[in-house]
């Protein structure tokens, strides 16, 4: 069972949340000047790492707020949760489940 910390409600079971992909992808400002390839990169391409991943979650069965989570995609370890607009926390990702 994976537990996720909602920045408002505290630690809750994963089944209360919905995942919405990679976080910190800014919409390009100069949308008229964008080439098809640049649009394609923005809309479709994601980093998909094994290990540390910053992603967006929403507490859909709880307070219905969006926030960001730093999670290890290989071990499902959740390193941190933070509110939208807050800076990315710097995390030294571990690969084993045993290490905290």
């Amino acid at each position: 069972m994976m537990m996720i910390e909602c920045p408002w409600c505290g630690k809750r079971d994963q089944s209360e949340f919905t995942a919405h992909g990679e976080a910190h992808i800014a919409r390009p400002l100069d949308t008229f000047g964008l080439s098809d390839q640049q649009w394609g990169d923005y809309v479709f391409f994601r980093s998909n790492p094994k290990g540390l991943h910053y992603e967006r979650w929403v507490h859909s069965f709880g307070c219905r707020q969006w926030f960001n989570v730093a999670r290890n995609t290989a071990t499902d370890e959740v390193y941190a949760s933070y509110k939208p607009g807050e800076a990315k926390p710097i995390i030294k990702a571990t690969t084993s489940r045993a290490k905290k």
């Binding site: 409600c9 809750r12 079971d13 089944s15 069965f61 709880g62 307070c63 219905r64 707020q65």
Partner: protein, 193 residues
């Protein structure tokens, strides 16, 4: 032709249940108002205090109540106000009048939800049957509330006393599902004793 409408609650045909000192029943329909706004704006808290006599809870997952009046934290910018059904329109008019200058929303949701009461010694066990939410007294106590998941349904859970006495608010269309699930769980735990 009569001008009065008879509102039938979704669980009108489900009998209240009492097993091993634990009660499960649907409560009479209450008035419910969804309030959105910025809690740092003093006008919001003042308007709620004036209309309901209750303090707007700003601490996450808490509620204030007096009699049938409740103000419940639903999110950092969302609350639910519960009142007697016949007071709903009056309350909405008062709130809308006081909040018209600030960024806010007051919406009636009375017939969107119904409320169940689950109280007694087996209540925690019954809730644990369908929800991963921790209701242990060290985690969840009187005056606290939460929105969580029970089976496939999204519920609002409020604890009124240490006994424990819970109010479970559920969307109208899920009410029968929740009631059947809770009563099956209560039957199981009562026979286990």
């Amino acid at each position: 032709m009569s001008n009065t409408t008879q509102i039938q609650t979704p669980l009108a045909k489900s009998e209240p249940l009492e097993l091993a000192g634990t009660h499960l029943q649907e409560l009479p329909l209450s008035g419910k108002i969804s309030l959105r706004g910025n809690s740092s704006n003093r006008k919001l808290a003042a308007a709620v205090k004036k209309a309901t006599g209750l303090v707007l809870p700003t601490k996450a997952n808490t509620f204030n109540h007096k009699g049938e009046g409740y103000v419940t934290w639903m999110g950092p910018n969302e609350w639910q106000i519960t009142c007697e059904l016949d007071q709903t329109n009056k309350l909405i008019d008062e709130l809308r009048a006081d909040l018209q200058d600030i960024h806010s929303a007051v919406v009636e949701v009375s017939d969107y939800y119904t409320t169940l009461q689950l109280s007694g010694p087996l209540a925690r066990k019954v809730l644990a049957n369908g929800s991963a939410f921790d209701t242990h007294p060290s985690q969840f106590n009187k005056g606290q509330c939460t929105q969580t998941r029970f089976g496939h349904a999204a519920i609002l859970l409020q604890q009124l006393s240490a006994e424990p006495d819970y109010r479970i608010q559920i969307r109208w269309s899920y009410a029968q599902y929740l009631f059947d699930y809770l009563s099956a769980a209560l039957h199981n735990h009562a026979t286990d004793q």
